[in-house]
Amino acid sequence: MSFFFEDSPSSPSSPKQAKHFVSFGCAFLFLSFFVFLAFTAIDYNWNWSSVFQYKKKFIDGWLISVGISFVTLFFSLIVGFLAAMGKRSTLLPIKYVASIYIELVRGTPLLVQIYLFYYVIADAAGVDNRYVMGVVIMSLFSGAYIAEIFRAGIESVGKSQLLSAKAIGLSSKQTYRFVIIPQALRNSLPALAGQFANLIKDSSLLSTIAIREFTLNAQEVNSITYSSFESYFPLAIGYLAITLPVMQLSRVIENKIRFET
């Protein structure tokens, strides 16, 4: 019976790999069974071959989504850093600009932000490249979350270290550079990796303003081939192919940091 239970640190270790493999397989089959039931119940005429013809469209869309997410990650790190520093500023107007930005973005749905930005701000500012717009919207959106991640990272650097920095004669700029930021970044890494996974999923909403990313392309394949939802399977798998490794990476970093300190 103990075969299906996780090893406690004290128990004699049984063949560990095999054990997890079998349990994972059981869980997978069990869940697949329900999915199978659901699909047999709807009595649907599958049409995989015509969807498969459009595999290039999937690949292109996937590359666009991943590309937008990477570029966005870069800019949202900058936005998030500035907002986090702004929120700590002793200059009150700056502090409030940063707080209002963070609260507004975190308090409204991304879809609303996309529409507002697309129909109002981009129009007024005369931006007409959709991809630029998409990256700007996503960077502002993600930047607010990253600002909060950085804030938590900065606050994780204890008061005693700040006093030590003062004691050895570091200026406040040097304290940020050598003491706070390196540790805040390191402590923020797991959450940042998680945020990157969110970014990839959230970028699917850019399909609503006709950016030819993964989700939009999948929807197009559905309508071209007159199929209802075959394309959503490659779509889900395409997202998982990048979010699962990223989330795993986040976990690995978290453990590494825990063991190092």
Binding site: S160, Q161, L163, L170, P182, Q183, R186
Partner: protein, 243 residues
């Protein structure tokens, strides 16, 4: 070394941490602060080393007044060394990097000289083999010796230590106290807060007894320990020396 503190006060909310703290210590080489917990020893020390600014009163070190502006205080702090009870070191740097950081960034030493200066001091405190370890890989006593090495590296005119051994077990306490004692023997000027009465008696030449935010009594360590003048000090000593 001369230290003159004239009626400094400091409030935290409605708590008077320092309440007319006055002390005139002339020609000391090692000055120890002793006294009951919450009496204001750490607060006094933080003011002496320019980490905090008093609400009123003034502090003179060798006849120069401590500035009351943060940017000038920063310059003052560069000329002294400070070691706290614990958590002195930056956890993301190795022992060596902890020592070289202020040398390079604050004292504009080049990396090569900073390294050899740091290794010289780590060697002096028996830490040569631990130079490349992070604080998490060092014992408490080793960490404190690294912290002392870091404070000493820029050759400060005076060293301030706040209970450098109170977070350590007896064996590590001994190794850190030996390190401090060797500094006194070398003529380094030191002000320290300590609960180690034996050490205060042996290594310090002057002792101040602090309670209720004031200096209740100050004299040579022989006099203070053998002939305390005030009742509070006598009571305190009889209690702490009992065990």
């Amino acid at each position: 070394m001369n230290l003159a503190v004239n009626k400094i006060t400091k409030r935290y909310g409605d708590q008077r941490a320092l309440d007319g703290f006055t002390l005139q210590a002339n020609d000391f080489s090692c000055l120890a602060f002793i006294g009951p917990s919450g009496g204001g020893k750490s607060t006094a020390l933080r003011h002496l080393c320019g980490l905090e600014i008093p609400d009123s009163g003034e502090i003179r070190l060798n006849d120069s007044i401590l500035p009351a502006q943060e940017n000038e205080l920063l310059n003052f702090r560069k000329s002294i060394g400070i070691v706290f009870q614990s958590y002195n070191l930056f956890p993301h740097f190795t022992a060596l990097e902890n020592v070289t950081l202020p040398l390079v960034q604050v004292h504009a030493m080049d990396a090569k000289n900073a390294n050899s200066r740091a290794m010289e001091l780590l060697g002096r405190f028996g830490l040569s083999n631990h130079a490349n370890k992070r604080p998490a890989e060092l014992s408490g006593g080793q960490s404190q010796r690294v912290a002392i090495a870091r404070a000493l590296a820029p050759d400060p005119s005076i060293l301030f230590l706040d209970e450098p051994t109170s977070a350590l077990d007896p064996e590590m306490t001994a190794e850190v106290l030996e390190a401090i004692e060797s500094l006194v023997a070398d003529g380094k000027k030191i002000v320290l807060v300590t609960h180690e009465m034996g050490f205060a008696q042996k290594a310090a030449d002057q002792v101040a007894f602090i309670a209720n935010g004031k200096v209740i009594e100050h004299s040579t360590s022989t006099d203070l320990f053998n002939r305390p003048q005030s009742q509070t000090c006598e009571k305190f000593l009889s209690r702490v020396l009992k065990y």
